[in-house]
C-alpha cells in the first residue's frame, strides 16, 4: 500500500515536472521566435547570395534504393537558391537502379577523383561526375548497412567548409539553405551546426519536387505526426537551442562545420540515432577543449519529409527512434553530472534520460500502479479522474502552443479549416495516440536490450516517380 502511494506521488510529480519543463520551453520558444522574425526583417537574402563572403555548402544525399525519386530529388537540390553549392549523392549499396537512373539523367562519367578517407568508410567503388552539371558528384560505395557510413563517405569527398545532410526522399524549400545559413552568418566563428525544421509532407501537393500547396494529410495518424513534429521542433528544439543545449539536429536537414565533424570521427557507423549521437559528441569535444561554440536551431528553413502512413511503419519508426536514443545516451553516460560538461551534463542529458528515455517505462509503471491503487482503494476515483484530466489538459495546452508557434512563424496552413482540424486533433494527441507511442517505445527498448539494432523499413508513397508529374500525398 505504501509503495503504491509513493509510486503515485512520484508519478504525479514526474508528470507535472515534465509538462512544466515543456511549458517553459514553449514560452522561451515563442519569445525566441518573435525575435528571430524581427531579425529576419533586417536580412536581405539577395545580399547574402551576392556576398563574396557567403561560404559554400556541400549537400550530402545518402541514397539507398531510391530509384523512384532520386532524379527528381537531385534536380530539386541542384535548383536550390544558394550561390555556391556542391551536391554529393552517396549511393549506399543500392540493389535497385539508383545509380543507373542518375547516370542516364545526368550523363554521369566515371572520374578517378582523389578520395581521401579521413573518416573510415566501406570501400567506394566509383566516383562519377556529370559533364552537364559540374556541381554534381555521385559516390557509389559498398553498402555498410547504415546511413552513417554513407554520410561519412560524402563528408570525405566534400570540398566546402559546411556540409548539409539531406535525405534523398525529402524536399528542401528553395530558400532553405540561405535561411539556415543565417544561423551561421550571424556568428561564423562560434556557430558550428544549425538545424532547420522538418515538416510532414503527406497531404501536400508536390510538383517537380517542390511543394506547390501545403495541406494537412487526411489520415488521423498522419495529422498526429504533424502536431508531434511541430511540437518537437518549434517548441523543443527552439527552446533548448536558446540555452545552447540542443541535443539533436535532425538527420533529414541540418548543416555542420565539415572539419569539426571530421575531428569527432564523423557519424558513428551502426549508431541507430546517428544524428543525436553526433551532436552529443560535438558537445563533448568542444566542452572538453573549452572552445566557445553554439549549436542552434532556425525555425524557418524547412525540409518536408514523408512520414509513415500506417501503424506498422509508425510503430517501427518510433521503436527505432527510441533505440537510437538509448544508443546515443548510453555511450555518453559519463557526461552526466560532470562539471566539465556544464549545462549539457547537468541539464539536457539528465532531462533526456529521465523524461525521454525513461518516459515510457515510468508511464507504464504509472498506469499499472494507479489501476492497482484504485482497485485496492488507496486512490480515490475522483482524484484519479482529476489527475487524468489535469494531465490531459496540460499536455493539450502544449500541443496547441506548438500550433500557435506555427501560426506565428511560417504559417503554412493557409485556410481556416486546416487550422481548425489541427486544433481538434490536438485534443486527441494525448489519448489514445500518446499511449500507442508509449507501447512502441517500450518495444524499442526491449529490442535494444535484446541487441536488435535493425532499422526496419517504412512503407512510402514516394515523392514523385515522374519529375513533371504533380503528386498529392493523400
Amino acid at each position: 500500500m505504501r509503495f503504491l502511494t509513493v509510486s503515485n506521488q512520484i508519478l504525479f510529480i514526474y508528470y507535472v515536472l515534465s509538462n512544466l519543463i515543456y511549458l517553459g520551453l514553449l514560452i522561451v520558444a515563442i519569445s525566441r521566435n518573435v525575435r528571430h522574425h524581427h531579425r529576419l526583417g533586417s536580412f536581405r537574402f539577395e545580399l547574402i547570395k551576392a556576398s563574396p563572403f557567403t561560404p559554400p555548402i556541400t549537400l550530402i544525399v545518402p541514397a539507398h534504393n531510391e530509384e523512384r525519386s532520386i532524379v527528381s530529388s537531385v534536380g530539386a537540390l541542384l535548383g536550390l537558391d544558394y550561390p555556391s553549392l556542391e551536391v554529393i549523392v552517396v549511393n549506399d549499396g543500392s540493389t535497385d537502379a539508383t545509380v543507373e537512373r542518375l547516370q542516364k539523367a545526368y550523363d554521369l562519367r566515371t572520374a578517378r577523383i582523389l578520395y581521401i578517407a579521413d573518416i573510415a568508410t566501406a570501400p567506394v567503388r566509383a566516383i562519377y561526375r556529370s559533364p552537364v552539371e559540374p556541381r554534381l558528384f555521385v559516390l557509389d560505395k559498398q553498402g555498410a548497412g547504415c546511413k552513417a557510413d554513407a554520410i561519412n563517405a560524402g563528408i570525405n569527398a566534400a570540398t566546402s567548409p559546411y556540409v548539409c545532410v539531406v535525405d534523398a526522399d525529402s524536399i528542401l524549400e528553395r530558400e532553405s539553405l540561405v535561411r539556415i545559413m543565417v544561423g551561421v552568418l550571424s556568428d561564423p566563428g562560434r556557430v558550428i551546426a544549425v538545424g532547420g525544421i522538418v515538416r510532414v509532407l503527406n497531404g501536400s501537393r508536390v510538383v517537380d519536387n517542390q511543394i506547390e500547396q501545403v495541406r494537412l494529410p487526411k489520415r488521423p495518424i498522419e495529422v498526429m505526426q504533424v502536431i508531434e513534429y511541430l511540437r518537437a521542433f518549434l517548441v523543443g528544439r527552439e527552446g533548448w537551442a536558446t540555452f545552447n543545449m540542443l541535443p539533436i539536429i535532425s538527420g533529414a536537414f541540418g548543416i555542420f562545420q565539415r572539419d569539426l565533424v571530421k575531428q569527432v570521427g564523423g557519424f558513428r557507423t551502426h549508431a541507430v540515432g546517428e544524428d543525436l549521437d553526433l551532436v552529443i559528441r560535438m558537445h563533448r569535444r568542444l566542452l572538453e577543449e573549452h572552445r566557445p561554440y553554439h549549436i542552434t536551431f532556425i525555425p524557418d528553413p524547412t525540409c518536408w519529409t514523408e512520414v509513415p502512413t500506417d501503424l506498422k511503419s509508425l510503430a517501427r519508426q518510433r521503436a527505432r527512434w527510441h533505440k537510437g536514443l538509448i544508443d546515443a545516451l548510453w555511450p555518453n553516460r559519463d557526461m552526466l553530472f560532470r562539471a566539465r560538461y556544464g549545462r549539457v551534463g547537468w541539464l539536457i542529458l539528465p532531462y533526456m534520460w529521465i523524461f525521454e528515455f525513461l518516459a515510457p517505462v515510468i508511464e507504464l509503471v504509472g498506469y499499472v500502479t494507479i489501476i492497482l491503487a484504485m482497485v485496492l482503494g488507496v486512490l480515490s476515483k475522483a482524484f484519479f479522474l482529476q489527475f487524468l484530466l489535469f494531465g490531459y489538459a496540460f499536455a493539450t495546452l502544449i500541443s496547441i502552443g506548438s500550433v500557435l508557434l506555427e501560426e506565428m512563424t511560417v504559417r503554412r496552413y493557409a485556410n481556416w479549416r486546416e487550422v481548425a482540424r489541427l486544433l481538434i486533433y490536438c485534443l486527441f494527441e494525448h489519448f489514445p495516440y500518446r499511449q500507442m507511442t508509449m507501447v512502441w517505445r517500450l518495444q524499442g527498448l526491449w529490442q535494444y536490450l535484446r541487441g536488435d539494432l535493425q532499422w526496419g523499413t517504412m512503407k512510402r508513397v514516394g515523392i514523385s516517380a515522374n519529375p513533371s508529374q504533380a503528386t498529392s500525398h493523400e
Binding site: H38, A111, L114, Y115, A393, L397, I400
Partner: protein, 400 residues
C-alpha cells in the same frame, strides 16, 4: 452564498489539482482565442492593405510628381506605410537617372525626415526598421543618423546600422564604420562589417588602403580581407606592400587581391607568396594564380604541385588542369617531377574537370611513340592509384 473559489479551497489537495485543471483549460481557450483572433486580424489587415496598395499604385506617377499633395497620404498610417515601401523598392531598383524624382518625393513629403527622426529617437525594432529603411534610401543626408546607430548600446541596433550603411553603397558611408573599426570602437560581427565595407568601397578601394596603414592585428586582417575582394589594378604597389606584411592573414588577403590584378608585378609577387612559410598563404597564392591569365604561372604551379601541404597540391592541380592548350606539356612536366603525389593530384583534377578524355586522346594521336607509350602508362598507373578509399588513399594523400 458560498463562492465557487471558497468551495475549491475546501477541497484541499484536490482543490489544487482542480485549479491546475481550470488553469490549463483557461490556457487552452486563450491560445485558441489568440490564434483565431490573430488570423482574423491578419486577413482583414492584408485585405485592406492590398486594396490600398492597388489604389495608390494607380496614382503613383501623381504621387511622385507631387500632383497629389503629400498631406493626402502622409497622415494616414497605412497609406504612408505603403507609399514608403513602394518608394524604397523603386529606389533600390532604379537606375541612377531615375533616382532624383524618387528621392525628391521622399524629401518633399517629409518621409526622409521622419525616418531620420525615428532612426535617432525610436527604440528597439522600430529604430532598427527605420535604420534599414534609411539605408535603402541611398540618401547622403541619412549617413549621420546611420552613423549614430553605430554607437548604440544594443548589438542588434549596431548591426542594423552597419547593414544600412552598407546598403547605401556610398563611399562616405564607409567612413563612420572605418573610423570606429580603426579606433576599436565597433563591437559587431565581422561578416556584417566586411559586407558593408565591401559594398561602400567597391568603387574606391584605395580608401581601405589608407585605413590599413593605420591598423594592426585583427583589424588589419579584417580590412585586408575586404580589400582582397575589391582590389583592382589601380591599387598598384600598395598590394606589394601588403604581400610583404608580417601578418600571414594579410599576406593571404594580398594574394587573393593580386588574383584580381593581372599586371606586370602580379606574377613575381604571387611567386614569392607561393613559397610562403604559412600553408594558407601559399594556398591563396595558388588560387590567385589559377585566376590570372598568364602562361608564366605554369612553372610556379608545378612547384606548388609538389608542396608538402595536400590542399596546396590539390589547388595547384586544379589550376593546371584548366590550362587546356598546354595540358600535354604540363603532363610531361608533372611526370618529370617524379612526385607520385603531384601526379595523382593532377590526374584527379583532370578527371574532375573532364579533361582526362581529351588528354588521353591527345596522347593516342601524338607522333612521338616512345614518349606517348610512356605517358600513357604513367597516366593509366596514376588513374588506377587515385580513387582509392580507406587507409591507402589517406596515406597516398598525406603530407610528405
Amino acid at each position: 452564498m458560498e463562492s465557487v473559489f471558497s468551495g475549491i479551497e475546501k477541497l484541499g489537495p484536490a482543490g489544487l489539482v482542480l485549479r491546475a485543471i481550470l488553469g490549463s483549460l483557461l490556457g487552452i481557450f486563450l491560445l485558441v482565442g489568440f490564434i483565431v483572433l490573430r488570423r482574423w486580424y491578419r486577413a482583414r489587415y492584408f485585405r485592406r492593405r492590398n486594396e490600398r496598395t492597388a489604389a495608390l499604385r494607380a496614382q503613383w506617377d501623381d504621387i511622385v510628381s507631387g500632383k497629389i499633395p503629400p498631406q493626402d497620404w502622409r497622415f494616414d498610417p497605412l497609406d504612408c506605410d505603403i507609399v514608403e515601401s513602394i518608394l524604397l523598392d523603386n529606389i533600390e531598383m532604379s537606375a541612377p537617372d531615375d533616382l532624383p524624382p524618387l528621392l525628391n518625393c521622399l524629401r518633399v513629403s517629409g518621409l526622409l525626415d521622419m525616418l531620420i527622426y525615428e532612426a535617432r529617437s525610436a527604440y528597439s525594432w522600430k529604430q532598427r526598421a527605420a535604420l534599414l529603411a534609411l539605408g535603402r534610401t541611398r540618401a547622403r543626408e541619412a549617413i549621420p543618423a546611420l552613423a549614430a546607430g553605430l554607437d548604440s548600446r544594443s548589438a542588434e541596433t549596431r548591426i542594423a546600422a552597419i547593414r544600412a550603411l552598407g546598403r547605401t553603397a556610398i563611399m562616405e558611408a564607409a567612413i563612420p564604420i572605418l573610423d570606429r573599426v580603426v579606433e576599436g570602437r565597433l563591437d559587431a560581427p565581422e561578416r556584417s562589417v566586411k559586407n558593408s565595407l565591401a559594398n561602400c568601397c567597391r568603387s574606391h578601394p584605395e580608401t581601405l588602403v589608407r585605413y590599413l596603414e593605420q591598423t594592426q592585428g585583427p583589424t588589419r586582417e579584417l580590412l585586408a580581407r575586404v580589400l582582397a575582394e575589391l582590389a583592382s589594378p589601380e591599387l598598384g604597389e600598395d598590394l606589394l606592400v601588403l604581400a610583404a606584411d608580417t601578418l600571414p592573414e594579410v599576406r593571404a588577403s594580398a594574394a587573393r587581391a593580386l588574383g584580381n590584378t593581372n599586371t606586370s608585378y602580379t606574377l613575381p609577387a604571387l611567386q614569392s607568396l607561393a613559397t610562403d612559410p604559412e600553408w594558407f598563404v601559399r594556398l591563396r597564392a595558388v588560387v590567385a594564380l589559377g585566376e590570372i591569365e598568364n602562361v608564366g604561372k605554369i612553372e610556379i604551379l608545378l612547384r606548388s604541385l609538389c608542396d608538402a601541404n595536400r590542399h596546396v597540391r590539390q589547388r595547384a592541380a586544379w589550376a593546371l588542369a584548366r590550362m587546356e592548350p598546354q595540358l600535354e606539356q604540363i603532363l610531361e612536366d608533372v611526370v618529370a617531377t617524379n612526385d607520385d603525389y603531384a601526379l595523382q593530384s593532377f590526374i584527379s583534377e583532370l578527371e574532375r574537370s573532364g579533361a582526362i578524355e581529351k588528354i588521353v586522346g591527345m596522347l593516342a594521336g601524338s607522333g612521338d611513340h616512345s614518349m606517348q607509350t610512356t605517358l600513357q602508362e604513367v597516366v593509366e598507373r596514376a588513374r588506377e592509384s587515385v580513387g582509392l578509399s580507406g587507409k591507402a588513399a589517406a596515406a597516398a594523400a598525406g603530407t610528405h
